[in-house]
């Protein structure tokens, strides 16, 4: 048995705290960006309202329907680009936020890796480690997607969630570095859990996007009905349809990963307990999540179920993931209850 390096473990915990601080700063910067940009857009629109021609020019492409009323500000549903590609305009707050996220993720990575080294194994063997490693994967996946698509409007949401995960780990489930109990000593732990964490990270992104999609859809409906804009920051967010399409693409990848998680879990269960499926609590919930997302994919191909209803299914699926990870791990007994709470 590997000897545990407690000193390194303590450094890891220190780095974890530093990462949490940096994420918090990034979270604030993302929020600042939303506030600032929406204020700037409003000022811009106020100026534009004076010269109708100019307004025409800037709004071209941004306004979907042609109806124009008294004020430009009330009508314009979104200034964001629906393809979610980077635009020329400078958003210094967002840049700072991304830079802080990169810094935080780097420190976070050091923390996670040093924890793994301290324990001499993969750093996902108990709740503390699921939360911290999972948070890192969420942040890294988010940064990777950012290199291709401008999803900075999701930053507040996603990085906020990472902060929550790190807080949950350090406050809720503090666990010193330790060896794995025999039930977890298997290379299937590496395969099964890492893919599950990657899938969950992607589902986290689509959850955030589905929530924004619902907000955007109801906001646009309200604007179309002549109501006021209660969520001006949503201007930075692309249209509901493009959110739906991108989240569908990400959900499709995540669903394949989740299917693999399910299969790998079954193979591991066969190795450990002599049956590949036994409806253990954790297995039940993994199955429920799988079926809900299969329902989501079906909904996208069923008339009358695309759009809002599909978004709700995606949200329900994610809530099941959160439930599976928290309530089931902590309160439900079953073969899987070695999560080290």
């Amino acid at each position: 048995m590997q000897n545990i390096n407690q000193t390194l473990g303590q450094y890891s915990e220190l780095f974890m705290l530093l990462a949490a601080l940096a994420y918090t700063a990034a979270f604030l910067a993302f929020t600042w960006d939303l506030v600032k940009s929406s204020r700037r857009i409003r000022e811009m629109e106020a100026g534009l309202a004076e010269t109708a021609e100019e307004r025409q020019l800037v709004l071209a492409g941004a306004v979907a329907g042609g109806k124009r009323g008294k004020s430009a500000g009330a009508l314009q549903g979104s200034t964001a680009d629906d393809a979610m590609d980077y635009q020329g305009e400078k958003r210094s707050a967002a840049r700072i936020a991304v830079a802080l996220t990169v810094l935080a993720a780097a420190v976070h990575a050091v923390a996670v890796v040093s924890r793994g080294v301290a324990a001499g194994r993969v750093p996902w063997g108990n709740m503390y480690e699921f939360c911290t490693t999972g948070g890192l994967v969420v942040a890294v996946v988010f940064l990777l997607v950012l290199t291709r698509k401008d999803l900075r409007f999701l930053g507040t949401f996603v990085i906020g969630l990472v902060v929550v995960m790190l807080c949950a780990a350090t406050i809720g489930f503090p666990t010193p570095v330790a060896n794995l109990v025999p039930a977890l000593q298997s290379y299937w732990l590496i395969i099964h859990v890492s893919v599950a964490v990657a899938a969950s990270a992607l589902f986290t992104l689509t959850f955030a996007m589905s929530v924004l999609q619902l907000l955007q859809a109801s906001r646009v409906a309200r604007l179309a009905a002549g109501g006021g804009d209660r969520m001006p920051f949503m201007r930075l967010v692309p249209s509901a349809l493009s959110l739906e399409n991108l989240s569908y693409r990400i959900n499709a990848i995540a669903f394949v990963l989740w299917t693999f998680t399910l299969m790998a879990g079954a193979i591991w269960a066969e190795k450990a307990w002599g049956r590949y499926w036994g409806w253990d609590t954790k297995e039940v919930w993994t199955f429920v999540i799988w079926v809900v997302y299969a329902g989501y994919l079906h909904a996208r191909a069923t008339r009358g179920w695309t759009g809002t209803r599909a978004a709700w299914l995606s949200i329900v699926g994610y809530l099941c993931i959160v439930f599976n990870f928290t309530i089931v791990n902590i309160y439900f007994s079953g073969l899987h209850s070695y999560a080290g709470v």
Binding site: A178, N179, V181, Y248, G278, F287, A299, A301
Partner: protein, 562 residues
């Protein structure tokens, strides 16, 4: 007139018996029903995680019903303790799979036909396609030598043939039509694997279900506790408990034997997780048949041992104190290890010993085995460590009729003390039996004595045989592959038509249509146009003449099938 006819039809209520059946079938196999059943399946699976389930934990269910005499039987009536074999859960998934078959078979047939047929005819107006564009070639043939292979086509026919070759290279199936006419065109299609993947995925789900069912029919599963030095022989009587599949016959058992030579446990001795187990290793000596050569093998958690068509798993372990009991007549009534059940991480273990051979009175003992005995401030004994540093027995003793003689099976780990008379106990004034290793305790009233001779460990084994496991693995892998193909391959059609304009120039028009979800459709349109332009227009720069109209694909599932 037509409208009136239709109105009459709707008003007619009688569909007839066959008509009703057909209507029900159409409803069952609709996407909406499939979605509904899927969501219902998700909801129906949840109660199985809220209530204890009989297959996994029969004792807990019995206890639950006893603790909740009001609600328990009602829940039981609704099969909430057997969710996954309940009528309602089975009904949902069977309906879902019937729907699936009804949905997939026609699609498979249609897809087989599509595979053999030519790409669909060219629509008359390509500008109606979700992605389309057009451009004109400059008049005259390629004057400079910079042109690419084949050069610039001078006739619509040549342009279409050239375009067909290009599409073929991109993996499309192509069909050139109206070659000699005024508006020749090429129809192209790709992505058949998408639909195939979808079909394979859905059919494999049936395969998985069938494998699970076959495993349930022909498999079996048994439990056996083996103390160090003991041997298990794979026969029905060899098992402590045995769950056969519906079609099981005793001949299926291969009479191999395994002996537990040694069981080693390592506990963590570093401060933070002191006493947590980090390794269990069972050293086994196995014989594939009664007369065969023994072979030494290692069994660990997560590393099952396969022998005689079965897999043997290490699922538990504990201590078996070796005890000798002499009865009131002075004869040895029991001698050997007694399996004790660990109650906590420190291996404080519950121990029950029934001695039916004791005379004149049968004897019974209940209490705890403590690997490292200690006494807390209230004078209660407890175990301080999972390793046996100071092993001790703390027992109460009883005498009377154990009730074993009427042949009714009893749980060996439970002693029903109601019908027995207490000899001594922790609660009585004299105290219970406290035995360190090697010590003997004389029972009161001359009923006999008990000696704690030594200590062994035991391993709890699960032994299973599932002939359909491989099938389940193959089908689920197929499902995964099919799913990936279905989700990540784009299925689309491309048409390119060429014509001679009034000024004699060749104009090229193209349109693309996705079947199902395809976010890359617009990109594919742009790529094809770019390739054609590079091929035909490399030597000319005609920005204004070649204005192109791109329209990006927007709505999901915009596939308008012909």
């Amino acid at each position: 007139m037509a409208a009136k006819d239709r109105g009459d039809n709707v008003a007619l209520p009688a569909l007839g018996f066959l008509g009703t059946l057909r209507w029900m079938w159409t409803q069952l196999t609709s996407m909406r029903t499939a979605l509904f059943l899927l969501l219902l399946l998700a909801v129906a699976a949840v109660p199985g995680s809220l209530f204890p389930q009989r297959p996994a934990n029969p004792a807990v269910v019995t206890q639950y019903i006893r603790d909740n005499p009001e609600t328990g039987p009602i829940l039981d009536w609704f099969q909430l303790f057997d969710v996954y074999s309940s009528v309602w859960f089975s009904a949902i998934y069977l309906l879902l799979f019937i729907s699936l078959i009804g949905c997939v078979i026609p699609r498979a047939i249609a897809h087989g036909r599509a595979w053999r047929s030519k790409p669909p005819r060219t629509p008359s107006r390509l500008s109606r396609m979700p992605v389309h564009g057009s451009f004109a070639l400059p008049s005259g043939s390629d004057s400079q030598s910079g042109g690419q292979a084949g050069g610039r086509p001078t006739s619509p026919h040549a342009a279409v043939v050239d375009a067909a070759a290009l599409l073929k290279k991109r993996g499309y199936r192509v069909d050139v039509r109206d070659e000699q006419g005024s508006q020749p065109s090429v129809g192209a299609e790709r992505g058949f694997l998408k639909e195939l993947g979808n079909l394979v995925f859905h059919l494999s789900l049936i395969g998985v279900l069938v494998s699970v069912a076959v495993g349930g029919l022909f498999g079996y599963r048994g439990q056996k506790i083996v103390v160090e030095g003991e041997t298990f022989v794979n026969t029905l009587v060899g098992y402590d408990s045995f769950t056969p599949g519906t079609n099981f016959s005793e001949d299926n058992l291969d009479p191999y034997s395994i002996t537990l030579e040694k069981f080693d446990v390592t506990f963590d001795r570093q401060l933070t997780h002191y006493g947590q187990p980090i390794d269990f290793t069972a050293t086994m000596s196995t014989k594939t048949a009664p007369g065969a050569e023994p072979e030494q093998r290692i069994l660990k958690v997560n590393e099952p041992l396969t022998i005689g068509g079965t897999s043997v798993y290490l699922v538990g372990n504990g201590y078996a104190p070796v005890v000798t009991v002499r009865d009131g007549d002075g004869n040895i009534a029991h001698q050997g290890p007694v399996v004790s059940i660990p109650q906590d991480g420190l291996f404080t273990s519950l121990m029950v010993l029934k001695v039916p051979d004791a005379r004149p009175e049968q004897l019974g003992f209940v209490g705890f085995f403590l690997p490292t005995a200690a006494i807390d401030e209230n004078g209660v004994s407890f175990s301080r460590d999972p390793d046996p540093f100071l092993p001790q027995l703390n027992l109460n003793s009883y005498y009377g009729d154990l009730g074993l003689d009427d042949g009714e099976p009893q749980n060996v780990y439970v002693l029903d003390t109601d019908t027995l008379t207490e000899l001594n106990s922790r609660n009585s004034e004299a105290g219970g039996i406290v035995l360190d290793a090697g010590e003997t305790f004389e029972l009161p009233e001359g009923k006999g004595s008990i000696t704690f001779d030594g200590l062994r460990r035991y391993a709890a084994l699960d032994i299973t045989h599932d002939p359909a496991e491989l099938g389940a693995l193959v089908f689920s892998s197929l499902a995964l592959a099919g799913l990936s193909a279905s989700l990540f391959i784009g299925r689309r059609r491309v048409w390119i038509r060429a014509a001679s304009g009034p000024d004699g120039r060749v104009t090229v028009e193209y349109g693309l249509l996705a079947r199902g979800e395809d976010h890359r459709l617009a990109g594919e349109g742009a790529a094809i146009e770019k390739l054609l332009r590079e091929r035909w227009l490399a030597d000319t720069i005609e920005h204004d003449e070649n204005e192109t109209a791109h329209v990006g694909a927007s709505a999901p599932g915009s596939g308008k099938d012909n």
